[in-house]
């Protein structure tokens, strides 16, 4: 049966479409730009003991942190490159990366004080506007250090600490020393060791007992230097009964040679606390995004990871929650979109280490134009974690014949009295679905977008409003094959 050429009335939808094409047209300007490099200090490529010492000296760190970095460097140098995951991992050349770039002398408190180059970057990203409208505080990472960071007064009045990690170490050394690297030790894996040796920037968040931070805390990260590695370190501590939602979003200029982003993020939810950590990752498609994220949830605590991966050449990232106390809850919502030349190796890990703990993992991947989306997950229920309940759902959507989807679910159960469910689906965008939508006057590309948006909607609805908008736009751009 022939499908008649759909007639598109001048509706809001078309207007939106035009707007999206507009976004597409200036994508390079909006996200692919890079300012002339103008830094106070830029380390030569490659990693050495001298460099690590210099970073520590630059930051006037205490002796224990300097020793921590040097020990981590030894771990990094002594470990082989992992051979699991993606074959692309072997393309990372650690000698071809700048490990430390300093853009500004100190963290800035006022927008007016931020250097013009940096300001221009953030203006394009719309941070000040976003701050006025939505944010309770902004942490903006430009290169290796946070240059602009402001916490609204009401947060400070509540005793909430939200600052860059370097300042956190300087101003709250006791807290940092108590918790730093207790969730992810430096020799946890090769990339965590690398981060531990050269970390710079990232966020330090401390929420006092019983305090609910009503607005999400947000930080933007950005790479601007060719072959620049970014190694931010984030530590969030939520005292008993507190709540915080932290949001990170990434964009990066499009460069021809590879960059490395390797963060370490540690979350500590003390009894009854709740931490939600949302990421919209949109690195340009030359970035290797190799990140270790892990959380501890004590008794009655909840940790939620909402993890959206659209950009990068290769992402390997599996946010984890260790449910250490009774009735703790862990939740991982993951979206991965793999376009041409991309491999999104994402997923999550939940470890039930205490009785009556509960968890959900919902992972959705979309592969298009030969992209590869992988789900890699672990669900572990330890001996003694009786009454544990968990549900794992991983769905993959393939948009064409060339694309690929893999699922690597691991489930280990060492306790009898548990309830575990696992579902996995792989589907293609069906001709009948397309036909149905097109018969209602929707062009084929629009119909595909609608189907994809419907597929990921259960997760985008969990995002803060402005991020949900950005996420939908990014998905649209991916659908048009115009990212990177």
């Amino acid at each position: 049966m022939a499908v008649t050429e759909p007639k598109i009335p001048q509706t809001t939808q078309l207007t939106e479409n035009e707007q999206l094409r507009g976004i597409n047209a200036d994508y390079t300007e909006r996200y692919g730009f890079h300012d002339a490099e103008n830094y106070l200090y830029k380390a030569p490529k490659g990693l050495s003991r001298e460099l690590v010492e210099k970073i520590s000296e630059f930051k006037s760190e205490p002796q224990w942190m300097r020793e921590f970095r040097l020990k981590a460097l030894d771990h990094f140098l002594s470990r082989p490159q992992p051979t699991w995951g993606s074959p692309m991992l072997q393309e990372v050349d650690y000698d071809d990366i700048h490990y430390f770039v300093r853009a500004s002398e100190r963290a800035e408190r006022s927008w007016d004080d931020v250097p013009d180059d940096v300001k221009k970057t953030f203006d394009r990203l719309g941070i000040p506007e976003a701050e006025r409208k939505f944010l309770s505080g902004v942490g903006a990472q430009y290169e290796s250090e946070v240059v602009y960071h402001q916490v609204r007064k009401d947060l400070e009045d509540q005793g909430v600490i939200f600052m860059d990690m370097d300042s956190g170490l300087r101003e709250h050394e006791d807290l940092v020393k108590k918790y730093f690297a207790t969730v992810i030790p430096p020799n946890d894996n090769k990339l965590a060791a690398l981060n531990s040796a050269v970390w710079s920037g990232g966020s330090f968040v401390y929420v006092p007992e019983g305090v609910h931070v009503e607005m999400p805390l947000q930080a933007y990260f950005r790479i601007n230097t060719e072959n620049m590695g970014q190694f931010e370190r984030t530590l969030i501590i939520a005292e008993p009964g507190s709540y915080v939602h932290y949001v990170e979003g990434c964009t990066a200029p499009t460069y021809s040679s590879s960059s490395l982003h390797s963060a370490v993020v540690e979350l500590i939810a003390l009894p009854g606390a709740r931490i939600r950590y949302t990421t919209v990752q949109n690195w340009s498609t030359n970035v290797f995004n190799l990140v270790t994220k892990r959380a501890i949830a004590q008794e009655d605590a909840t940790v939620e990871w909402v993890d959206c991966n659209l950009g990068s050449r290769l992402t390997m990232k599996y946010p984890s929650v260790y449910l250490m106390g009774e009735r703790a809850h862990g939740e991982i919502l993951s979206i991965a979109f793999a376009g041409k030349g991309q491999h999104q190796d994402a997923g999550g890990k939940i470890i039930h280490a205490a009785p009556n703990t509960t968890s959900n993992i919902f992972a959705k991947s979309i592969s298009k134009d030969g992209g590869r989306g992988s789900y890699r997950g672990l669900l572990e229920i330890a001996k003694g974690a009786h009454g544990a309940r968990s549900k794992v759902v991983c769905d993959a959507l393939l948009l064409d014949e060339e694309s690929r989807s893999d699922t690597y679910p691991t489930i280990r159960i060492s306790e009898d009295d548990v309830n575990v469910g696992h579902e996995a689906t792989v589907s293609k965008v069906g001709d009948d679905q397309l036909f149905y939508l097109m018969s209602h006057g929707i062009p084929e590309d629009e119909a595909s977008k609608l189907i994809v948006n419907g597929f990921i909607e259960p997760i985008t609805k969990e995002l803060p409003m402005e991020y949900a908008v950005e996420m939908n736009r990014l998905i649209e751009l991916q659908m048009e094959g115009s990212i990177g």
Partner: protein, 105 residues
């Protein structure tokens, strides 16, 4: 029924020193933390790493698994950092006739 095995003369395990002993299919790390001797199973509960080969901090009485970095309290066998979350077995230490002995079963 517990069995008592000999490790070594007290003089041969000075503060800050570690010794590995085997009993049946068990390997046990014996640590002298500032004059007090403790014994834990030489197998990290995370990924079976050889704990006695890890960095021993006798001031804090901890050992760091050389495989993935979990820090264990040698006195209790409890992990102080992830990725390990299950304690390792500990063994009672007996000092008798100037000899370090362990109670195993």
């Amino acid at each position: 029924m517990p069995e008592v095995i000999e490790v070594c003369p007290v003089a041969e395990l000075q503060p800050g020193q570690v010794r590995l002993v085997e009993w049946e299919d068990l390997e046990i790390g014996v640590f002298n933390c500032g004059g007090t001797v403790y014994a834990i199973e030489d197998r990290c509960s995370h990924d079976n790493g050889p704990l006695a080969e890890g960095e021993f901090d006798q001031d804090n009485c901890t050992v760091e698994c050389p495989r993935h970095g979990s820090l264990f309290d040698i006195r209790t066998g409890n992990p102080k950092t992830l990725p390990a979350y299950v304690p390792v077995d500990t063994f009672p230490v007996i000092i008798e006739d100037e000899t370090i002995k362990l109670e195993v079963e």
